[in-house]
């Protein structure tokens, strides 16, 4: 509101990165020069025909990375949206109703929090069929926990606000109060949480795919990385520069994009909420 800050600049930069990536994933068929499953002469160096060369089975690497944007972002958004919705719902219930139900939800949260998330995800993913849906489900199972916890604590604060009590006094039902008075005030937190979760999933998914647990057909950036790494002499020759570096940079760019946006939003959304609520106290 007052002048442009570093955070605003970073936020716009992050938003720019994300918009480009989303556009690339939506228009992948138009942008990519080839179908990523078509095979050409394997292990070609970059040329005007194949800007990033081809891999060991002859797929065009640039097209693979462009289509990989689709897979990576699809997983990130599907997981974070679902996990955030579940987490928010459970957090609202736990925070608002309290009682036995709230207690149970929070104990489940505690149990989940003590489990080393990535290790267990690797174990589960290793035993399930290799598909992007496996990855999505496994990440959702662990993704809702933090959100539920954060939302609950915010609801506990909001619940004691006079305007929530007023709404009850005016004759509003619990559902009405949750929907009209509590949810709108936790949304800023949820948005930030969504961004953090998405960036976490991008990294975790890349890690999982790098270990060879990704979908071999719908190749994400991590999967491309995985196959590149399996290729002998990848590091000793120049091949890594067009086979490993591009998907790696994409991962870094996406995470930075999410982080910058989250960084800017956190400042913007939270203090505003706090100062407005806290005014005159």
């Amino acid at each position: 509101m007052t002048g442009v800050t570093v955070k605003d600049v970073l936020g716009s930069l992050g938003l720019g990165i994300l918009v480009i990536l989303v556009a690339v994933s939506i228009f992948a068929p138009q942008i990519a020069p080839y179908d990523p499953h078509d095979t050409y002469k394997p292990m070609e160096h970059p040329s005007s025909e194949h800007l990033l060369g081809t891999n060991d089975v002859g797929n065009d690497i640039l097209s693979e990375v462009i289509y990989g944007t689709r897979v990576s972002l699809f997983i990130a958004f599907t997981v974070s949206i679902t996990a955030i919705v579940i987490g928010t719902a459970l957090g609202l219930i736990a925070g608002y109703s309290g009682g036995v139900l709230g207690f149970l939800i929070m104990r489940i949260v505690d149990i989940f929090l003590t489990i080393p998330r990535l290790v267990l995800i690797i174990v589960i993913a290793a035993f399930m069929p290799r598909s992007i849906w496996t990855i999505i489900v496994v990440f959702i199972i662990f993704g809702w926990v933090m959100t539920a916890r954060i939302v609950r604590s915010e609801v506990l604060t909001l619940r004691s606000q006079y305007y929530v009590e007023s709404a009850r006094m005016l004759g509003g039902s619990d559902l009405y109060i949750l929907w009209r008075h509590i949810l709108p005030n936790v949304i800023p937190l949820v948005v930030v949480q969504f961004i953090m979760e998405a960036s976490h999933v991008i990294i975790a998914e890349a890690g999982l795919s790098f270990l060879g647990l990704g979908d071999p057909v719908a190749r994400s950036w991590g999967t491309t990385f995985h196959y590149a790494f399996e290729c002998p002499n990848i590091i000793t020759s120049d091949v890594w520069m067009w086979w490993m570096l591009p998907p790696g940079l994409c991962i870094v760019a996406t995470v930075l994009g999410f982080t910058f946006v989250g960084y800017a939003l956190e400042e913007r959304l939270n203090p505003k909420l706090k100062t407005v609520v806290g005014m005159g106290v």
Binding site: Y163, S166, M169, H181, N185, G280
Partner: protein, 303 residues
Amino acid sequence: MLEVEGLTKQFSSGIIKKRNVSAVDCVSFRIEKGKTLGLVGESGCGKTTIGRLILRLVEPTSGTVVFDGIDLFSLKRAELRKIRPRMQMIFQDPDSSLNPRMKIGTSIAEPMKLHDTVPKDERAQKIMELVETVGLNPEHVNRYPYQLSGGQNQRVVLARILALNPDLIIADEPTSSLDVSVQAQILNLMRDLQKKFNHTYLFISHDLEVVKIMADQIAVMYLGKLVEVGETPDVYNNAKHPYTQALLSSRRILLEGETPGPADIPTGCRFHPRCPQRRDKCAIEEPEPVEVGEGHYVACHLV
């Protein structure tokens, strides 16, 4: 109109070793229609809890509250919600009584929507009417609570309550967070509204000057119990309880020590450790309320 009988609330804490803290202990009073009862006491004595208990925002431990012939504590949730519009509460802090993300107009319209008291097409006009009744400007309707002052927000709260046409209004220190000049405006507004709509008020305050202006009857509370109840002039001119006398003395009769917390309530008369006129009996036996004049009750061994 409102009869409160033996109202008690104990909060318990701890899971294994239960500890009971009694916030309100066997409080009884009644308010006639169109009258104001001023409930006075220092902070933490249970005044606010009484207000919340009457509205059942907090569930009571025991006692009865009869509102216009209806026993409130026997009502089921759905029945309670139906009667809620008739009893409303104004909270201490007007700024947090309104949802910061709702425009003033939306907040005022909220009760109309919830209870469908006003047809949809007449709501906008009704809002304007209410805004005018409480002395706000029509352009305030499109603002947010943080853009208004505390006094203006308290007017919004009043407008919103008026939309429901309530019989009983519990005002919990409605002016304590406002500037003195604004306080007077809000108090005058509340009195005008009472005259106009014949509201019954339970006026909770720690400020005796304010209560003196507002109340027909006064109830003085100390540590969860009423120590003195009576008509305002009787209590002001002829206070019998040492605690009331101390509160009223302009030079402030200096009381010894501090108010004990509700977790460790003294034996006998709750006030005895600080009472300048205590006797041996006071530490052992709890005084019962005695009628000292018409409708003037005092719970003290000295009377």
